[in-house]
Symmetry: C2
Subunit: 218 residues, 2 copies
Amino acid sequence: MIRAIVFDAYGTLFDVHSVMGACEHRFPHRGAELSRLWRQKQLEYTWLRSLMDRYENFERITSDALVHACGALGLHLDDAGRVALMDEYRHLAPYPEVPSTLLELADRPKVILSNGSPAMLDAVVANAGLESGFEAVLSVDPLRIFKPSPRVYQLAVDRLGVAPAEIGFASSNSWDIAGATAFGFTTFWINRAGQHADELGQTPHAVLSGLDQLAGHL
Amino acid sequence: MIRAIVFDAYGTLFDVHSVMGACEHRFPHRGAELSRLWRQKQLEYTWLRSLMDRYENFERITSDALVHACGALGLHLDDAGRVALMDEYRHLAPYPEVPSTLLELADRPKVILSNGSPAMLDAVVANAGLESGFEAVLSVDPLRIFKPSPRVYQLAVDRLGVAPAEIGFASSNSWDIAGATAFGFTTFWINRAGQHADELGQTPHAVLSGLDQLAGHL
C-alpha cells in the first residue's frame, strides 16, 4: 500500500535536455560533450563534498562543475556565459506527462526530494507552474549532505509521517534508486532512455519508461 | 618539515594503463572506452556505497563496475573474461621512477594508503617486488568507507604518529588530493597527463609531473 509519493526533480520531473541546447548554442558543436561532462562533474562533486564533509549548496557545486568542464574541454567561459548557463536550471521544462500524472495521483500526498538548493527548486517549480502539485519541496540543504545518504531519504519520512515501505519513490537516476531502495522506499526507476542499471546491489520495485505508468503500478 | 610520505597506489605508484591493453585485447577497438567507463564506475561506486553506508570491498566494487561497463557498452563478458581482466589489477607495473624515488626518500617512513582491498594491494606490491620500500600498506577495508572520507586519511596519521601537516601525500587523482588537502596533509598532485584540476575548493601544495620530482620539493 503506497500512501505517498516522493519525486526526484532533475531528470525525473524536469527535462534537463534544454541545458544541452543552451551549451550547444554558446559553444557550437561542443554542446553534447560539455553538458555530459558538466552533469558528470556536478554529480561527482555532490558525492565527493559529502564524503569530505565539505558541503556547498547545489548552486555552487553546479557552477563549479561548469567551470571545471569548460576548463577541461578548453572552452572559454566568461561570467556572462556562466550566469546564462546556470540560469537554465531555473527554467527547465517539466516532462509532458507530469501535469496529468500529478492529477492521477491527486488522492495521495506528493513531495519533491532533491539535491537542489531551495532557491533553485522554488524557481524551477514556480516557472513550470507546478506549485499546487506538491505538498512540499524538500531540499537536502539543511542537512548539508547529498543523495544517496540515508539521512536525505529520512527527510521525506519525517515530513510525510509515513513508513518508508509505504512511500513510492520515483527517480530517473539509477544510483538514486539504489540509495532509496537500500533505505527502504518502494522504488520506481523512471528509465526513459533505456539505460543500463548501476551495479550497487539493489533492485527497484519496478522499472517504468515514463511517469505516466506510475499510477498503474500503485 | 615533511617527516613521512603517504602514497596513493592505483595510478600513482602503479600504472593502470595495462588494464586498457587487456581490455583492448579482449574487446578489439573497444578497449579505450571500456577501460574509461570501468574506471569511472569503479570510482563512482566507491563514493556511492560509502554514502549509502553499503560498503563492499574494492575487489567486489571493481568487478561490479566491470560488469556494468560491459553491459552498458553491449560487450559480452563471460566468467573467464571477468576473472582475466580482474587479474590485471594484481599485476600492474610500477611507474619507472618508483624504485629510484623510494631510494631517494630512504630517510623517511613511507606508506601506501589505498582504497584497494588488502589482498589486491599485497599482490600488486609483491608482484612488483616493492615490499621492502614501504613501512606499511594501509587499506581502507577495516573502516568500511572509501576515500575521500577524512577517516581514511586519519588511518595514516594513526599509523605514522606524525601530524597531518608534516605528512607529504602524493596522488595522481585530483579528487584524492582535494580530500587529503582538506584533511590537512601537505599534498603533491602527481599530474603526469596534464589534467585539469577538480573544482573542490582545495589547492595542492605542489603539482608535479612525476614522482621523481618529489624529493626536490620536500
